[in-house]
């Protein structure tokens, strides 16, 4: 097998199907590492990684930090709240200051779409996009694909429905792009106001009825309503959203088959998914979190490998 075709992980858009396969296969071996009594390998001991979070995050940030530490990398953390960004420094200046302290890789979450790509053009470090606004969240899509593959055995031909706030979700876009690249069948489902008008041009099915979506799919990925990104009202009330798009045990019990339920977190229990569903054997929500560390280790390992000594 060959190396990754890219030097940064900016989005699923830039990855080839072979890259995705390589990351998922490598993650499988890292998952084994995470189940050893000593869960640490020395591979990245000469790499320093900066985690730059210009937007709040709990899961992703912890997951990246743990992945970095499990690989023995040196880690520095930075959050916008306590930084000189507040004092008027530009993104490139902030990052260049950090890089001058000999940092090799940057994991960045930023509220502006394209921030990671912009940074990759201006600084000499491997950039990993940990979410850029409503644009992409590539490691989430990779860990979702890994979790589906683990459960179903194969991604090709798998029927995956993504339900909820498609319009504001970077998870939705990255998932759609990834699943299409590796031959899965994808449907998006949500209120007409929360599904982008041109979604079908990505080759996905568009549905507005939750019942139809879950009857069709093998896997349902329930997304949170992103109130923080909504400038206007997209639906009349939470109660109405819950009635139309909230997944309940009644939905799952009425199906003739068993489907896998996913959620990228954070869960709004009782809105897009009830507590019974979230805690049922159908849900693989905590598996997703566990797999997230292994997938991020694979991404870090494969990108670090491209920074050969002598030209990094």
């Amino acid at each position: 097998m060959s190396e990754l075709s890219v030097n940064h992980l900016l989005g699923i858009k830039h990855l080839a199907a072979g890259d995705i396969q390589l990351i998922l296969d490598t993650a499988k071996e890292f998952k084994e590492v995470l189940n050893r009594p000593i869960k640490k390998v020395p591979t990245l001991r000469d790499i320093t990684i900066a985690n730059l979070f210009f937007e709040n995050s709990t899961r992703t940030r912890l997951s990246f930090e743990l992945a970095e530490k499990r690989l023995s990398a040196d880690v520095v953390n930075f959050s916008a709240a306590s930084s000189s960004v507040k004092k008027g420094e530009t993104l490139v200046d902030t990052v260049n200051n950090i890089l001058s302290m000999k940092v090799d890789m940057v994991v960045m979450r930023h509220p502006n779409p394209g921030a990671a790509e912009f940074l990759s053009q201006h600084v000499d470090a491997s950039i990993i996009n940990a979410g850029d606004g409503a644009h992409e969240h590539p490691t989430q899509a990779l860990l979702d694909a890994f979790s589906i593959r683990e459960r179903l055995g194969n991604l090709e031909g798998a029927k995956v429905a993504i339900v909820g706030d498609i319009l504001h979700s970077r998870v939705a876009l990255s998932n759609v792009l990834l699943l299409k690249k590796i031959g899965a069948d994808v449907m998006v489902c949500g209120p007409t106001t929360l599904v982008p008008k041109y979604m079908h041009t990505l080759g996905v099915r568009v549905e507005h009825n939750l019942q139809t979506a879950i009857e069709w799919c093998d896997v349902v990925n329930m997304l949170r309503v992103q109130h923080e990104r909504q400038d206007i009202k997209y639906f009349p009330s939470i109660a109405e959203y819950r009635a139309q798009y909230g997944l309940t045990m009644a939905h799952l019990d009425a199906l003739e088959k068993s489907i896998v339920v996913m959620h990228p977190g954070p869960i709004n229990r009782g809105v897009e998914i009830t507590s019974e569903v979230a805690d049922s054997p159908h849900a693989i929500i905590l598996d997703q979190v566990e797999n997230g560390v292994a997938v991020r280790m694979a991404v870090l390992y494969l990108l670090a490998e491209k920074r050969k000594l002598g030209n990094s």
Partner: protein, 181 residues
């Protein structure tokens, strides 16, 4: 590039039998021993040895495992191309056990150094030993020597020593590959 057969299937079989005898001599019924094949090529030696030990030497239920050393290598980012990890399968506790690493060719010793590092992630073995089917003499980069060796081979750095197995390659043999002059 030319390939020359330096050990044939008969000689290979004798070497494997001799290795089995030595293992039985030191490990008895293998109660506290675990044989660990080093990925990717040690697994073949391991399965052949286990087959012989069970069929010819009456040893039963030998505990085995496979260890991949990719994440412990000392040439990560220092060599061109991609280092693809292989499967690791260690289902027995190594704590206080006698671990025997098994590989096909011992060359620089760097893989064995990595293996010693890697196995410690699973616990602290009582003892570590090294078995190699082929020992390329005078080519070590590290102070590592095998406890059990099938055959010794003299070769130069530009040559390659390759072990073929009937199950995979259609015949048992050891080849010496000469570079194109």
């Amino acid at each position: 590039m030319s390939k020359r057969e330096i050990i044939d299937s008969g000689e290979l079989n004798i070497a494997l039998n001799r290795l089995c005898c030595k293992l039985v001599e030191n490990h008895g019924d293998f109660t506290n021993s675990i044989l660990i094949g080093l990925q990717p090529r040690g697994g073949q030696v391991l399965s052949r040895l286990v087959k012989l030990l069970e069929e010819e030497y009456g040893v039963s239920s030998i505990r085995t495992g496979l260890l991949d050393i990719t994440f412990y290598r000392d040439d990560f980012r220092r060599r061109p191309g991609h280092l693809q990890p292989n499967k690791t399968k260690i289902e027995h506790l190594v704590e206080d056990q006698k671990v025997v690493f098994i590989d096909d060719v011992l060359y620089t010793g760097r893989s064995v150094r990595a293996a010693m590092d890697a196995i410690l992630s699973y616990g602290r073995p009582l003892k570590m030993e090294l078995l190699t089917l082929i020992d390329r003499r005078f080519s070590r980069d590290l102070p590592i020597q095998p406890d059990y060796k099938g055959r010794q081979v003299d070769s130069i750095a530009s040559q390659r020593v390759e072990v073929l197995w009937e199950e995979v390659d259609g015949r048992d043999a050891v080849l010496l590959t000469e570079p194109a002059s």
